[in-house]
Symmetry: C2
Subunit: 373 residues, 2 copies
């Protein structure tokens, strides 16, 4: 049954939910300080990587990520049509490489785990890896090819979502929310009070800053800092060189993880550190050094790219790294929070779940398992 | 005899000459696209380093740099008084350190050369170096203490010069000069033509872009690219930590040179690459990596500083790395160009020389030796 929904948060989760809810007949308002440029979504690399993100002991999360990936082709096509904007959705696939023999052993363990889950991943020697990605260092110990891990240009995605939302009649209120009450009620930073029919919290790491959620049943959400770099082909009149990379490369470099995600314009996104350090958002020299060091160890050619941006983002993480989606214990207040490293990948699934939740329809067992306590 | 002088260039040389000429009764106009933010001066670190810049085979240049340094205390005091602005002139001194035994051997050779020129430099072991600079890595092989190599905050200097110039009646024309003629004459980028009494070229790496100088007798000036980083103490509420460094540290790191220049606000300027690559001004990932790598090898604590800026500057170099100061072969056209790595250090000397040259007074033998062919 259609209703009026205020969505708190203008990142990829907030905007995806806004678009889908609006397309399903709800009267949607997004409340966010800078919608479409909010939070971790803007800083992200945009990997859609259920397989290469699979971690030992997180097989339930992996099942969720695979279901999230399954929805992406349809979501991407519908969004590009609705917005009239390209979002850089790319299905070329991913290669994960190992720098030393210890990294190779770790990758083999990971590959065995991936196969135990029935995932599509293939051991490749160094020559095979370089055939897939000619820019790889000759010093690598081979890797794993994962055809099903893809990417989207996260900033193009956010722009297209904002356009599609406006086209679907979503209203934007550029403001911060400082408190939520059951009922529901919202209090904006300027003191303004709103009494919408429903609230959907999609505030990422902004959640702990919102008062009134003590009885919501939502898990604690903490910020997990990530440094990321954007490198580009220098403009200086050298014609248009062939792009350095044409598929996503991940690497284990003396035990540290790094990734390089190529964009269609020849630029490369290099990430990302994973740091538990509270709300410190500074771009640190040591982290930038670490990313450059690890990235050039597997793709030496990045040395010639221009350093266009060094930034940090704060991933919203729950205690079990799994998002929380569903009605909270507060009347009229739902949530879609804690997407950690997988907000972009899980946006279509979360938006579809939000339509079921807000429409008071039964949700899938997978989504049911994500409900607040 | 006072005259009307148009100075082409708004970097440290152009502004220093403008201020001194104006104080000496000349009617001065500075023509530059963005005076006070032009060229290499803005990007520089501001070291005043005749001793640690001394290179084998350049003893004549070293003599010039020492004379330049001798004028700095008086220049700094007069400028701070005239402008009412602090310029961060700091006489704490410099330490140059060696990372490995080969670097130590190179420093010992350099020290012998410095002593052969009668320069004030002292061999220090690792413990003595760490007593001078507690933030140094414990892994270093000692170094050289140079009490007479100082620094100034180059951006504060440029700001103070612009203020002092305005106070002294200098006129600013924010425009690019595209041609110079004997007579003299100037043609601006917008086609505007000027017929000043005298022209002083102080255009740095802009010189090759100015037409009409074929018969000037000026040497070729080429751009020598340098990457530089500005690191700062993160703002994020951690009180005011003690500054990481209190004196300039230079280092040899496996044969590569790096320097860290501390500012009074706790920030650190890290530089600089020396690259001959035409007019390519892109900030390259590889160069940023190299600077971070070398700087953290001698001062590991920079890892915790914020990366505030990564930039490049183009040093204006003549074939013998020595500036060219005096009347050109074109009537009414003087020049003060090609200051390469030493523009800040030589600004007071150059400005004093410009007053002699434009006043048609005899110049010192040192300055005489810098005249165009």
């Amino acid at each position: 049954m259609p209703s009026s929904v205020y969505i708190v948060g203008g990142g990829v989760i907030g905007l995806s939910c806004a678009w889908e809810l609006s397309r399903n007949g709800h009267d949607v308002t997004v409340v966010a300080p800078t919608p479409g440029r909010d939070g971790a979504s803007w800083v992200a690399a945009g990997m859609l990587a259920p397989v290469t993100e699979a971690q030992f002991g997180e097989s339930a999360l992996t099942a969720l990520l695979l279901e999230g990936a399954r929805l992406w082709p349809g979501f991407a096509a519908a969004l590009e049509e609705a917005s009239g904007q390209a979002i850089g959705y790319d299905t070329t696939g991913t290669v994960t490489v190992a720098l030393d023999t210890s990294d190779r052993a770790s990758l083999d363990d990971l590959l065995a785990y991936q196969h135990s889950l029935g995932l599509d991943a293939h051991r490749r020697n160094a020559t095979e890896c370089r055939r897939l990605v000619p820019a790889l260092s000759p010093a690598l110990r081979g890797g794993i090819e994962v055809p099903g891990d893809h990417q989207v240009d996260n900033r193009a995605l956010l722009g297209a979502l904002a356009t599609a939302c406006r086209g679907a009649g979503v209203t934007f209120v550029e403001a911060a929310v400082c408190a939520v009450a059951a009922g529901p009620g919202l209090v904006l930073a300027d003191g303004h009070r709103l009494r919408p029919e429903h609230v959907l919290l999609a505030a990422g790491t902004g959640l702990p800053g919102i008062a009134g959620l003590e009885a919501s049943g939502l898990p604690a959400v903490r910020p997990v800092k990530g440094h990321i770099l954007r490198l580009g082909p220098p403009a200086a009149g050298r014609g248009a060189p062939a792009p350095l990379l044409e598929r996503t490369v991940r690497g284990l470099v003396h035990g540290r993880s790094v990734y390089l995600v190529p964009r269609r314009d020849g630029s490369v996104v290099v990430g990302a550190t994973v740091e538990e350090c509270g709300d410190d958002t500074a771009v640190r020299a040591g982290a930038v050094h670490e990313l450059l060091c690890d990235a050039r160890a597997i793709v030496p050619g990045i040395d010639e790219l221009e350093l266009c941006e060094a930034a940090t983002g704060m991933r919203p993480a729950t205690p079990d790294n799994t998002p929380c989606i569903g009605w909270t214990a507060m009347e009229g207040v739902a949530a879609a929070v804690g997407h950690y490293r997988n907000g972009i990948l899980l946006a279509p699934l979360t938006a579809a779940a939000a339509v079921d939740v807000l429409g008071r329809r039964p949700v899938s067992p997978l989504v049911e398992s994500l409900a607040p306590a």
